[in-house]
Assembly symmetry: C2
Homo-oligomer: 344 residues x 2
């Protein structure tokens, strides 16, 4: 397969187009993120032994911590300087994300997650369902110890969207006629909504006026969508060892994402038959992935997806233009850049 | 099998020992319960089509509505007379209960629920997991629209206990050495905690002073435990058609409940071998259920369980003695009686 469209060096060099490098952002908030790591481990303690095991296996096993980073950076941007509530709420969003991953893996019957055996394979579907429920419950318990119902409102709305997005994805499994609109709605719900909530939490913690909160929420929506678009492109193009799950997993699981929607739309009858075959032979989908990727290349479906992600990330950065310059603003701009330039 | 211990007419005659009949309690709160039914249907509406289908199949398909009844009766007892928040919170507790049932059925690989095909059989495990998540999220969204963080705190703590109770049950699957203490802790968490929360919600809505809230919460804990004890006895003794699931399902699923713990404790080596065989041949457990029930009868393990439930229900009623007489107090006493006298 010709990978040049995604292998453009200006895109994959992690320093090329960033105002701030992701690693630098992570180190800037190093103390806060270390506190988040500690709190993540503290909060999943339970006298029920399996719960910390499964939680730790999943959550301490990696992840970009992009959601905590967004809570922290937006809180700091809005002037939140004292206290540790940004740490607690970072745990909240990371737990909700982790709960979703646990349930997703059960729904997708996934074998791998971040390059290791997925939690459902290691501990069983039953443990994944129930520990996911524990993490959901624990998130709301942490929030209930705070005093801000607006944050509960934001996170519960995001959690509801998350569940709806997952159901939308489920009902459209193998539906090659899924429209771009439905797809965009699905990815907003399943990925964008929680990222919006991260920004709202930061704005609320920092006491931002409503119009600033709204602007940050719009930034969150844009980067959330960009993030999922990139994920859906990377699913077909990433380096398997670094990506941590099989390339083409979406195809194998019958997930109809933008690269496929685009390719399907433009494909001729013969090509459509190949795509449909790939779905119907889901056990042996591996042998079909190459063919489907060729069709995607032919119709530039992958670069179409990456371009759209890049456009969303650009619009997200534009949203930041009304804020006074600050290192926190640079961090948010850097996160938007990172999202569309990452290769993993 | 000799059923006399459970078939004592003074126990199964629904009018014999009640201060108030359950049916009468239901009709007393008929207007409120009708509003709850309507709100249950309204709140699970979603533009994602599968969600109302699955929710309606499960929630509108029956159930005793005991949790809403407890919210309503305790709120009324504590002087809550105006407004409709008791209706909203009734939906909250019923949704959390329903979400747990959806996830339980996935965990237990259940085929039947209330005499019909279980939701996971009808719609698939994937839909059950995700619609359960939707109902959890929706519960917290309804609460976040209210203004009382104490209620969020109560319900999130209950939800956490629920998840922990389910995990405890999972890790003790087929563990015949499960202690009575562990069992009691498990049933408090998986059933008692949410019922405690129902009572706390009522007390908070009615503006009850802390000591009254505490007393009602203790009543809730007692009846919650009594409820699960009876469920665990009925699992072995109920009339299958009315019970709505196979008798002996717990045995088949490897759930170690009090009747079995008690029988195991007293059984001789030969009887223990029979019990262990019943677990090991879980496909053909049907043929073993009769033998295991005989052992239970021999050691009065079922009446031991029912007696304990009856003691808890009695203690629950004693908790009510500090309140002035009122029809709402009679209703709560009647619910305690109903719980240990029901045959379904």
């Amino acid at each position: 397969m010709d990978d040049t469209k995604l292998a453009d060096p200006s895109q994959i060099n992690p320093n090329a187009r960033y105002s701030v490098n992701y690693k630098d952002i992570v180190s800037r908030y190093g103390a806060d993120l270390a506190a988040v790591e500690k709190a993540i481990g503290d909060h999943f303690q339970s006298d029920v032994a399996l719960i910390p095991d499964v939680s730790s296996y999943l959550i301490s096993g990696g992840g970009k911590r992009i959601r905590p980073l967004l809570v922290i950076a937006s809180a700091r941007l809005c002037g939140y300087t004292t206290g540790t509530r940004h740490i607690d709420y970072s745990v909240v969003v990371e737990y909700i994300h982790a709960a979703t991953l646990l349930h997703d893996d059960v729904v997708d019957e996934a074998d791998l997650r971040r390059g290791s055996e997925s939690p459902n394979m290691k501990y069983g579907n039953q443990a994944s369902v129930l520990v996911g429920d524990f993490l959901f419950a624990k998130s709301f318990q942490i929030m209930s110890e705070g005093d801000d119902m607006r944050i509960v409102r934001s996170v519960s709305s995001a959690t509801r969207n998350l569940a709806e997005g997952e159901v939308l994805q489920l009902v459209n499994t193998c539906n090659l006629e899924t429209s771009e609109d439905t797809y965009m709605d699905t990815i907003f719900r399943k990925t964008g909504a929680l990222i919006v909530s991260c920004m709202e939490i930061g704005a609320i913690l920092g006491g931002a006026p409503p119009e600033k909160e709204k602007t940050l929420s719009e930034y969150g929506k844009k980067i959330g969508i960009a993030f999922q678009l990139m994920d859906d492109a990377l699913d077909y193009t990433a380096d398997e060892a670094r990506w941590g799950k099989p390339v083409g997993a979406d195809l194998e699981e019958g997930k109809v994402t933008l690269p496929l929607i685009r390719a399907w739309k433009l494909a001729n009858d013969h090509e459509r038959r190949i795509i449909r075959d790939a779905f119907e032979h889901d056990d042996g989908a591996d042998e079909y992935i190459g063919q489907v990727r060729e069709i995607m290349e032919r119709y530039e479906a992958l670069s179409y997806t990456v371009d759209l992600a890049t456009r969303y990330a650009g619009e997200a950065k534009e949203k930041l233009s009304g804020f006074s310059p600050s290192p926190h603003l640079d961090a948010l701009a850097g996160i938007a850049d990172y999202i569309v330039n990452r290769d993993v």
